[in-house]
Symmetry: C2
Subunit: 268 residues, 2 copies
């Protein structure tokens, strides 16, 4: 683990990342120190910094630090955390901020491959996402809703929970973005009111465009998800997981999802 | 500063308090190591722990630690932070959690006394509070909304900003609770959808009951705040600050607010 470029594993107890969740993070896979999906990860990281008005580190610096922490690992989970650093007491963003940058890696065996191959069982979460356009899309450090949602079930057979916003439209999974296929078209909820705009989501939309698949954003009700021809969730570590079961609804094959899985494997 | 009872000033970079804002805090005043408003602080802390499903430390332990960090300070700001501790990757609350407990103190001269005496200038914030009943009332570590709201103005003449929720009703100040006086009655917004239930708010409601002042909760629109006979904000460090200006509305005397200020001075 590197903290502001130096080996270490602790941060100031006065860091605003702890005090207010005033920061953001990304989790990504790296192979021998090379981050996967980096184009999208970097794009999202830079966009999130801008939205939180947080200085964004140089891309080259981040890549060097990822290489440093993950070089010896054939397959690693890398986590980047950026916070607004140590500040005086009080909520106001300091005039000049010395951000805290944490880059860490750990060896990783990957998720069970059958999740991508045979599909997963998902559930609906009771925990709703609050509507907050100011923070929507950002992978910030205010994640109590996800903590509560993911704590709704213990059954290891259930791989993901889907979350609605306060108005009852479907937004995402607790740790993933959501897509449905309807009449050959790919649809994913807009993230202008809540939710996290993931790197894999961006990559899927890009892959769809390259494959000539019509794709776009749409507010979806739970019934529209249940009525979809195919449903999948995705994130940078999981890739694409088709849903084979959601409540009493079952799916058995996912032709368009398979197409995207293959395209993304090739493209990575 | 004490971290889990031991002198120190840093926490694990893997703490869930940093990763997800998975924890809570309280800020309070102490005099020679004795916390003020402790009855209400402790009540709120215990309630917040329950709402976040976080183990609550023993009251005697917290009091001993506050005494230890603040004993040498005639007047101190004490901050207590409790997090769900270091956990494995992933949002789910761990089966068994080793919470992190941070108790720190710093010398404090108090806010300028004219704020309580002559009233403050307040403003309306554009940043809205998202509606999330699951977390409403809790002083948790997910405070990006407060950070954004408090960063809307730099003018030191403006002491506080008032925040609305997404539905447009008034909730609180960025760092305080709000009360209005209307026809001799004391009203404060309910905190069942968002906002922080402060110790001073509880103390004010209690003082009002003891003084025979009718007090209760009511959803208030901005116009109702502007039309009020008196308006004040309060928190544990500030005490009670009457509003002398909010936008173009001005107030010149605050008889009931004065009554409460005096009662709380005596009661402390």
């Amino acid at each position: 683990m590197l903290i502001n470029g130096l080996p270490g594993d602790c941060i100031s107890a006065s860091d605003r990342g702890l005090a207010y969740g005033d920061g953001l993070y990304r989790t990504l896979e790296a192979s021998h120190g090379t981050p996967l999906l980096w184009h999208w990860q970097w794009q999202r990281l830079a966009a999130d910094c801008a939205q939180l008005r947080l200085p964004c580190p140089e891309e080259a610096l981040l890549l060097a630090e990822i290489a440093q922490v993950a070089a010896m690992l054939p397959r690693a989970v890398v986590k980047i955390v950026l916070t607004r650093g140590v500040g005086q007491r009080g909520y106001a963003m300091p005039d000049s901020c010395s951000p805290t940058r944490i880059v860490s890696a750990s060896a990783w065996g990957g998720y069970p491959p059958e999740r991508a191959q045979q599909g997963i069982v998902a559930r609906w979460c009771d925990t709703r996402l609050a509507v907050q356009p100011l923070l929507a899309g950002v992978k910030h450090l205010n994640r109590l809703e996800n903590v509560f949602a993911r704590s709704e079930w213990q059954d290891p057979a259930v791989a993901e929970g889907l979350m609605l916003d306060m108005s009852g439209t479907v937004v995402e999974g607790t740790m993933s973005n959501l897509f449905i296929v309807r009449g050959g078209e790919l649809l994913t909820p807009p993230l202008d009111r809540c939710g996290v705009s993931g790197a894999m989501r961006a990559s899927v939309l890009d892959a769809a465009a390259n494959l000539g698949i019509t794709a776009g954003e749409a507010r979806l009700l739970p019934d529209e998800v249940l009525a979809a021809d195919e449903v999948f969730v995705c994130n940078s570590l999981a890739g694409i997981w088709p849903l084979r079961q959601l409540g009493s609804r079952q799916w058995q094959d996912w032709p368009l999802t398979r197409h995207l899985q293959l395209a993304l494997q090739d493209g990575n």
